[in-house]
């Protein structure tokens, strides 16, 4: 197996950004076909394809669409392009290189779920992708691909770009909806789920950029063709954002089920010279870390990674070699979550801050040996106790880092310096 280019086939062409360039490579040819289908047919096709949400949770897309109430209430299609998960940068490339691919996917999806209004929620820092999207939407409107009566089918769909204000939590679907409504970006209590009561209290579907883009290809080639890629339960291809201590970091599209080690060694070009693989975070910073031994066993699909106690997440593969201090690395993560917790639920608001304080006590040489167990206890009690998954996202890395690399933590507490680097926190960072 090797890289399979389905979504990213023409990403190397600069003209693929424009409507003409996109059309020249077969773009907007699936749309007329989709508009002639029954909406339910499209939903069934997506269900059969086994497409799962590419944003992180891996929830079956067709099933999500099926939760919409069967009535004529106005409903919204939101595209989640907040891409806040540390290590993830695939959506950015998709929006920069092929904005029309996303737009076409959104029109087809909107037609399937009967939505007349869609928003693309892009994180505030993505200034260039937002420009690309806005330009592409303009082009699409002029070509009659958006707006009233698309391609004479009688279907209306309006699309807007909304620029986020830069909070990690706005990547959580209800947090994103709050933010889009003009409120403070805080997740909402579930139930009711967005599919029943979401944006402006109307039924709402929130999908990731990659998920929506993939819908076009499922309709183009049919569900069966899509299932050819990937494994039985994890179908299709997925973009992986490879980063860290590899020779060639970058976005790679591979079929699901692809061995993690191959991604590192073939696509990523292997470890930097003279370095040894130490650990990999396979699905964005919220996913539990894998040791080098576990990496050898891991395949990039939802089930294989779940079997190893971690998750595929957003597909951000962060590679660490033997020069990395895990205590220091975890310090970066806990600081991130303490900074980004929205502060609604007590276990997360206080827990993320507490974890960060304990970790920085250790890093600055004030740690106590019982702090290591305390980290585990605190993280354990943050898991599954809050409205959204940020609490889990903060707790899981702590649990995995501390249990899998406990020796490094113990050394740090005893000696007040890093086991790997041999230096103190101040020396490491100044």
């Amino acid at each position: 197996m090797a890289e399979v280019k389905m979504l990213t086939e023409f990403y190397h062409l600069p003209e693929y950004q424009t409507l003409e360039g996109y059309k020249a490579k077969g773009g907007y040819q699936t749309l007329p076909k989709a508009l002639k289908m029954q909406p339910q047919q499209i939903i069934d096709e997506v269900k059969t394809s086994g497409l799962r949400g590419r944003g992180g949770a891996g929830f079956p897309t067709g099933m999500k669409w099926g939760f919409l109430p069967k009535n004529n209430e106005p409903r919204y299609l939101l595209c989640n392009a907040d891409e806040g998960e540390p290590g993830t940068f695939k959506d950015r490339m998709m929006m920069e290189r092929a904005p029309h691919q996303l737009i076409e996917g959104m029109i087809i999806s909107a037609f399937a779920i009967g939505s007349k209004k869609g928003y693309i929620y892009v994180r505030g820092e993505y200034v260039f992708p937002i420009d690309c999207l806005r330009k592409a939407i303009q082009e699409a409107y002029s070509a009659g691909l958006l707006g009233k009566n698309i391609l004479g089918s009688g279907f209306d769909f309006d699309l807007d770009v909304y620029r986020g204000a830069g909070a990690y939590i706005c990547g959580e679907e209800t947090g994103m909806i709050s933010s889009l409504e003009g409120l403070k970006g805080q997740p909402k209590l579930k139930p009711p789920f967005p599919a029943v009561q979401g944006y402006l209290r109307k039924p709402t579907i929130v999908n990731n950029v990659e998920t929506l883009a993939a819908v076009t290809y499922i309709i183009r080639d049919g569900a069966a063709a899509y299932r050819q890629h990937g494994t039985e339960k994890s179908t299709g291809t997925k973009l992986f954002s490879l980063s860290g201590n590899v020779v060639k970091p970058g976005n790679y599209e591979v079929p699901l089920g692809y061995p993690l080690m191959d991604l590192l060694m073939k696509e990523g070009g292997g470890m930097k010279p003279g370095r040894k693989l130490k650990a990999v975070i396979p699905g964005g910073s919220s996913a539990p870390v894998l040791t080098a031994d576990e990496v050898a066993k891991a395949n990039l699909d939802y089930e294989s990674l779940a079997g190893l106690g971690t998750m595929l997440g957003s597909g951000a593969v962060i590679v660490m070699d033997d020069s990395q201090c895990m205590v220091d690395m975890l310090g970066v993560l806990t600081h991130f979550y303490a900074h980004e917790s929205c502060g609604q639920c007590t276990p997360c608001r206080e827990g993320t801050g507490w974890l960060n304080k304990i970790l920085h006590s250790i890093l600055e040489g004030r740690g106590r040996l019982q702090d290591i167990d305390l980290l585990i206890k605190v993280a354990d009690n943050m898991k599954g106790k809050t409205i959204c998954a940020l609490s889990d996202a903060a707790a899981l890395p702590v649990l995995s880092f501390v249990t899998k690399f406990r020796d490094e933590f113990e050394f740090y507490v005893r000696e007040g310096r890093s086991k790997v680097k041999g230096t103190t926190y101040a020396e490491m960072h100044h």
Binding site: A338, S341, P347, R349, E350, I387
Partner: protein
Amino acid sequence: MPKCTINGKEVEVKEGTSIIEAMQKSGDRIAHYCWHPGLSVAGVCRLCMVEIEGNPRVQIACNTMVTEGMKINNTSEKVKDAVKWGLDFHLINHPLDCPICDQAGECGLQDQYMEYGKYDPEMAEPKQKKHKVVDLGPTVVLDSERCILCSRCVRFTEEVSKTNELGIFNRGDRSEIGCHEGVQLNNKYSLNTVDICPVGALTSKDFRFRQRVWYLKDAETVCNGCSTGCNVKVYYNKEGFFRVKPVYNEQVNGHWMCDEGRDIYKFVNKEHRLLKAQTRQGSANWNEMPAGAAAKAAHEVLKGASADSLALVLTAQYTVEEFEAIVATFVNEFKTKKVYFWINNKESFDSFDGLLLRGDKNPNTKGLLKVLEKHGLTATWAELTQGLASGAIKTVVVAGPENQSAFPDFAERVKELSKAQNLIWLQAGNHSALQALTNNVWLIPTKTFVEKDGTFINYAGLEQKFKKATTIVSEALTLTEAALLLAGKNLAIPTAAQPFLPTNQRPDQVALEARKKNEFVFKRGSL
């Protein structure tokens, strides 16, 4: 009507009831901070954890609806551990300043800690620093470090007072409550935020640092601030009354009361009261005497007066029983029909702010009207004015207002009534206009609403009975007693009207029972 089992007990609840409501119904205790029956569900404190059979994870009770056959448990070790940790997260950044915190003694955190906690803190790191003594507005002070961010106050201003002054600012453990830019927490219901605050973060400027709550007793009564008749609890000790809080009554006030009503305890206290009867003949010096003696002396005047020259003026601030007693005395004993209703702030009488506050600042207008109607009394104030001007009315008995602040026309009316030759003025509070009177005056102190049993009838015609809380001025008379004495009768001791005492118990026994009950006032069943 789904049936569920809570801690082994079967409970039947209405469709759409949450587990926490079902547990309130079944009487099971459950830890919670953010949930409040009068507000929307926030689901953020994560303390109301319950175990539901068939669900591996503990769930929050406030946002989970009861379904048929659900088996709920909140006494298992798993739940206790979850609550203990939930509490720990609340406490790690909470300052340990209970000894100087005004909430101590009725604090949700203290209560829950005693029930679920009692462990040593594991937090070795410094606590978060936040703003202290934040002036939110004219009535409320905020201490952000004590705040547990349950968002009850924010939801209150959004959903109940609909004034939207408060919000939560910043993120994570730096989050703080505050007022939006350019506004203050300044609405007619602002002090409810202090009541619903489960910790000492929001404190009332009026009450803070005046008493430790464990030195206070409480008694339920009906607010006499306006015709809504909110059910309230008054807090007092031997030094007087200190504060008023609302008591839940679905039919009247729900969970809330207005800020105006919280001031009603002030005129009850000694410094604003007539402590002894005072009489004065013309501009001679005031002569102090016991209230009973003054009433007896007034009886001599009334006895000699002809029915035509006698008038009674009533404010709607007394109980139905008292109105009945004094009106009956005047109609039957003194054979006069000249009973007048002193209406204050006529213009705003019918106004209503949509929540609780009504323009009629009397607790018992309906009650007075009922009594007047019963005796067929229809005299108008214009007739009184005319009678006083022509000198036909020579002797006037006035039952003056308890709450003088609700009577902006007080001094003016005193001046008008002083045209009468003899003025017998029954009132709880003192006033400079009364002290300036120079005709034949008898000022007789009366009891306030917290010092007597009785009934108020509110704007909607709802009869609300209340009991005596305590006595502030022992000299003072109720209107019933005054009516007896004015008619020349003797007071039976103890007074005949003790309708709420069990017959086999002496008053001191009842007081003892009440004191025992009050030992548990701090154990707030419904936070």
